[in-house]
C-alpha cells in the first residue's frame, strides 16, 4: 500500500513546513502567481510613463528616471526568476514528477521543503531590494534616497560593479550597513538564493525520475512533460555555476572594491556578460522546455491521438538542451567579441531552431486529422503554438549577427522575447493550470469564464506585443525614460502606438482578474472533479482528485506508453498506462 499511515501533522506541518510534494508545488504556484501581480504592476507603471510621460500615474504617482530604470529592471527579474521558473518548473515539477511516474513523493522530501523555503527567503530579499539604499551621505551615513536597483535585469558591469559607496574611510562604523543594503546587493543575494533553491530542486527532480519510476515504466514510457521538466533541470544545473561564481565576484566588486569587472581596475566587463549569458541563454530553455512538455501532453489528450513522433520530440529536446550551452554569445554581438566568434554563434543559434521547429511540426502533425476537443486547456495549448511561433521565427532573425547588429537593444528584441517568454509562461502555464487543477484541487474550473479569459488574453496579448515589432524595426531603443524631439527625434511619431500598447497592456492585465476570480470561485464552489475528467492516460489520473498523502492507494504498474489514444479495436478511445 502506498497510502501513508495517518498521523496528524498539525496545521504547520501540513500546509506550511510540509514535506508533501503537492503542498510544496502549491506553495511555489501561489508564490509565483502573487509575484506575477507584482511584476505586472511594474509593467503597468513604466508603460504608463512611456505612453504619457510625466503623468501622475494612478496607483503610483509620478515616476522619476531612476525609478523608471528600477521598475524595468525589477519587472524583468521578477517575471523570469520569480514567476516563470517557480510556476513552470518548480510548481509543476513538484506536482507532476512523482504523480506521473507513479510514486508517493520526491526522492528527498525534506530537501524539497527546504528548496521552497530558500526560494521564499529569496523572494523576501527581492522585495526588500525594492526599498534598498540608493544614496547616502558618506560622512554621516545618513540615507538620502531609497529605491530598487536600476541597472537592467542583466546587471551589466561596469555600471553594476561600482563600489562608489565604499567612500572615504572604507568600512567605518555606521557606514557599513547602509552600503551593504543597497538595492543591487540585496538583488544579487536574492538571485543567488534562488539559484541554490532551484539546484536543490533540480537534484531532487532528476533523482526522483531516474530512481523511483513505477513498475514497468521505461524512460521511453515517460510522458513528454517529465522529459522536458528534467531536461530543463539539467540545463539549469549545469549552466548556473559560472554565474554563481560571477555573481560572487560582482558582489565583491560592489562591496569590497575588487576589480574583476571594472576596466579602471584591470577588470573585464565583457567577462560578466559571458558568465551571465552562459547561464542566461539556457535559462530561456529552462522556461521553454516545460512549456513544450505541457503543450505536448495536453495536445495529445484533447486531439485523442498519440503524440506524433514521441521519440523525435524527446531527441529534439535532448539536442536542443545540449546546443543551448553553445549559443550564449548571440547576446553579445555588439559587445566587442571577435567577428569569427559571431559567425560561430550565429550558426549554433540558427541550428538550435531546428529541433524546436521539429517539435512544433510534431505538435501540428498530432493535430492533423484528429478530433479536437476545444476545452479550455486545449485552447491555451493551441494559443501557445500560434503565439510562440512568432517569437521563434523572429528569433531566427535576431540570431544572425548581421541583423542583430541593427536590432540589438531595440524594441524588436523586446517584442521577440515577450513573444517567447509570455506564451511559455502565460499560455502554457495557464494550459497546465487549467488541465491539472481538477486533479490537485479536486474542483473543475468554470468553462465559460475560462474561455472568455482565454480569448480576451489572446487578443490583448497580440495587440500589446505585436505593435512593438513595428517601432522596434524603426529602431526605437529600449530602456529609455522618454522619447523626445531632443534625444530620439525619429521616435516621437510613434507616441500614438506607445499609447495604444499601454491601453492594450492594461486590458491584458485586467483580463487576468477573470482567472483569479475563476480560481477562487472554483476552489470554493466549483463542480467536483472526477478521477479522470479529461480521459487521459498518464498515471496522475489514476489517483484520487485531489490525491491524498502518498498519492496512490496501491503503487500503479505500467503496461504501455502514455499516449495510446483511439487504439483500433478498443471500445474506449483511451488506454491508461496502468490498465492491462
Amino acid at each position: 500500500m502506498a497510502d501513508h499511515g495517518h498521523h496528524d501533522p498539525g496545521f504547520l506541518g501540513k500546509y506550511v513546513f510540509s514535506n508533501d510534494h503537492k503542498v510544496v508545488g502549491m506553495q511555489y504556484l501561489v508564490t509565483g502567481l502573487l509575484m506575477a501581480i507584482v511584476g505586472g504592476y511594474f509593467a503597468y507603471v513604466f508603460r504608463m510613463q512611456l505612453a504619457w510621460p510625466g503623468m501622475n500615474i494612478p496607483l503610483y504617482g509620478q515616476l522619476d528616471q531612476s525609478a523608471y530604470n528600477g521598475f524595468i529592471t525589477m519587472h524583468g527579474l521578477t517575471m523570469i526568476f520569480w514567476v516563470a521558473m517557480p510556476v513552470l518548473l518548480a510548481a509543476f515539477g513538484n506536482f507532476l514528477i512523482p504523480m506521473m511516474i507513479g510514486t508517493d513523493d520526491m526522492a528527498f522530501p525534506t530537501l524539497n521543503m527546504l528548496s521552497y523555503w530558500v526560494f521564499f527567503l529569496s523572494t523576501v530579499f527581492l522585495i526588500a531590494s525594492l526599498f534598498g539604499v540608493n544614496e547616502f551621505d558618506r560622512k554621516t551615513g545618513e540615507i538620502l534616497s531609497r529605491g530598487p536597483y536600476g541597472g537592467g535585469w542583466t546587471m551589466y558591469p561596469p555600471l553594476s560593479a561600482q563600489a562608489d559607496m565604499l567612500g572615504v574611510g572604507g568600512y567605518g562604523a555606521g557606514k557599513l550597513i547602509p552600503h551593504l543594503l543597497s538595492g543591487g546587493n540585496l538583488l544579487i543575494t536574492a538571485v543567488a538564493l534562488e539559484f541554490i533553491s532551484f539546484s536543490m530542486g533540480g537534484i531532487n527532480f532528476l533523482v526522483t525520475t531516474i530512481n523511483m519510476r513505477a513498475d514497468g515504466m521505461g524512460i521511453m514510457d515517460l510522458p513528454i512533460c517529465i522529459w522536458m521538466l528534467d531536461l530543463a533541470c539539467v540545463d539549469f544545473m549545469f549552466s548556473v555555476g559560472p554565474l554563481i561564481a560571477g555573481a560572487v565576484m560582482l558582489l565583491f566588486d560592489r562591496t569590497l572594491g575588487t576589480g574583476f569587472y571594472d576596466p579602471n581596475r584591470g577588470g573585464d566587463p565583457v567577462l560578466f556578460q559571458h558568465l551571465f549569458w552562459f547561464f542566461g541563454h539556457p535559462e530561456v530553455y529552462v522556461i521553454l522546455l516545460p512549456a513544450i512538455g505541457f503543450v505536448s501532453d495536453i495536445t495529445a489528450t484533447f486531439a485523442r491521438k498519440p503524440v506524433f513522433g514521441y521519440k523525435l520530440i524527446v531527441y529534439s529536446g535532448i539536442i536542443a538542451s545540449g546546443l543551448s550551452f553553445v549559443v550564449w554569445a548571440h547576446h553579445q554581438f555588439i559587445a566587442g567579441i571577435d567577428p569569427r566568434m559571431a559567425s560561430f554563434f550565429s550558426l549554433t543559434t540558427i541550428a538550435i531552431s531546428i529541433p524546436f521547429a521539429v517539435i512544433v511540426f510534431a505538435m501540428i502533425a498530432t493535430l492533423y486529422k484528429s478530433s479536437i476537443e476545444f476545452t479550455v486547456p486545449m485552447l491555451w495549448a493551441l494559443g501557445w503554438m500560434c503565439t510562440f511561433l512568432v517569437g521563434g521565427v523572429t528569433g531566427i532573425y535576431l540570431g544572425s549577427a548581421g541583423f542583430d547588429i541593427y536590432g540589438h537593444d531595440s524594441y524588436f528584441v523586446i517584442a521577440h522575447f515577450h513573444y517567447t517568454l509570455v506564451p511559455s509562461t502565460l499560455f502554457a502555464g495557464m494550459a497546465a493550470i487549467h488541465y491539472w487543477f481538477p486533479k490537485f484541487i479536486g474542483k473543475m474550473f468554470n468553462d465559460t469564464i475560462g474561455k472568455l479569459h482565454f480569448w480576451l488574453t489572446l487578443v490583448f496579448f497580440n495587440l500589446t506585443f505585436f505593435p512593438i515589432f513595428f517601432y522596434g524595426m524603426a529602431g526605437q531603443h529600449r530602456r529609455i525614460y522618454q522619447y523626445t524631439i531632443d534625444n530620439h527625434p525619429s521616435m516621437v511619431q510613434y507616441q500614438p502606438i506607445r499609447q495604444f500598447v499601454t491601453y492594450m497592456l492594461i486590458g491584458l492585465i485586467a483580463t487576468q482578474a477573470l482567472f483569479f476570480l475563476n480560481m477562487i470561485m472554483s476552489v470554493f464552489g466549483g463542480e467536483k472533479a472526477s478521477k479522470n475528467p479529461w480521459k487521459a492516460n498518464t498515471l496522475e489520473w489514476v489517483a484520487d482528485s485531489p490525491p491524498g498523502h502518498g498519492n496512490f492507494h496501491t503503487y500503479p504498474k505500467v503496461y504501455r506508453g502514455p499516449y495510446e489514444f483511439s487504439v483500433p479495436g478498443r471500445d474506449s478511445d483511451y488506454w491508461p498506462q496502468n490498465e492491462q
Binding site: G170, I244, L256
Partner: protein, 209 residues
Amino acid sequence: MSSEARVVRLSNVPKGRMAMWLLICGEIVIFSGGLASYLIYRVRFPELGNVTDILNIWLGGINSIILLVSSFTAVSAHAAANRKDAGKMAMYTWLTVLLGLVFVGIKAFEWSGKLGHGLTISPGIFTQGAETVDWPDILGHGVSYFSYYFFLTGLHLLHVVVGAIALTISMLRVKSSGKNWQWVEMSALYWCFVDIVWIFLFPLLYIVR
C-alpha cells in the same frame, strides 16, 4: 500493444550517491566559471608572467600533499564503513578532518602573510582611512591577481570547511545510530571532490607563468 507487465530495470545507483554526483557536477561548473575567468585574465595580461613567484610554492605543495593523503584516509573511512567497522571508520574520519584542519591552518598562515604585506583582495579594504593603496609594481594591473587568488582559494577553503563538517556529522551520527552507513560514503565522495578542485587550483595559482 501487449498487455503483459514489462520488466524495466531502474537504475541501481542508490539515490543518495546519485544526488551527490549531481551536486558535484553542479559544483564543478561553479569552479569552472571561476577558473575560466582567472585563465582569461592571465591570458589578457601576459606581462603578469612571474606574479606567481610571490606565493610560497612549498606551502602550497605541502597543502596539496596533505589533501591527497586526506583523500586516502577518507576513502579508508568509506572502506571501513562498508565493512561496518565503526571504530576504524571513526578513526579514519577523524584523521581526515585533522588533515583538513592542518590544510586550513597552513592556508590561514599564508593568507595572514599576504594580508600583512598589504596584499589584500582589493585596495582600500582592511586599510582604514585610505582610498587607494600603492600596490607592489609587480601586480601592474591594480588588484586583480590577488582578487582572484583570494576569491578562488577562499571559495575552496569554504568547501574544505563544509566537507569537514559533513564528514564529522555523518561519522558521529552513523556511529551513534549504527544506521545510514552510506552517509560516510557521500561525505567522503564530497571530500575527494574538494581535494581534486585543489589539484586544479594549485598549479594554476602557484605555478603557471
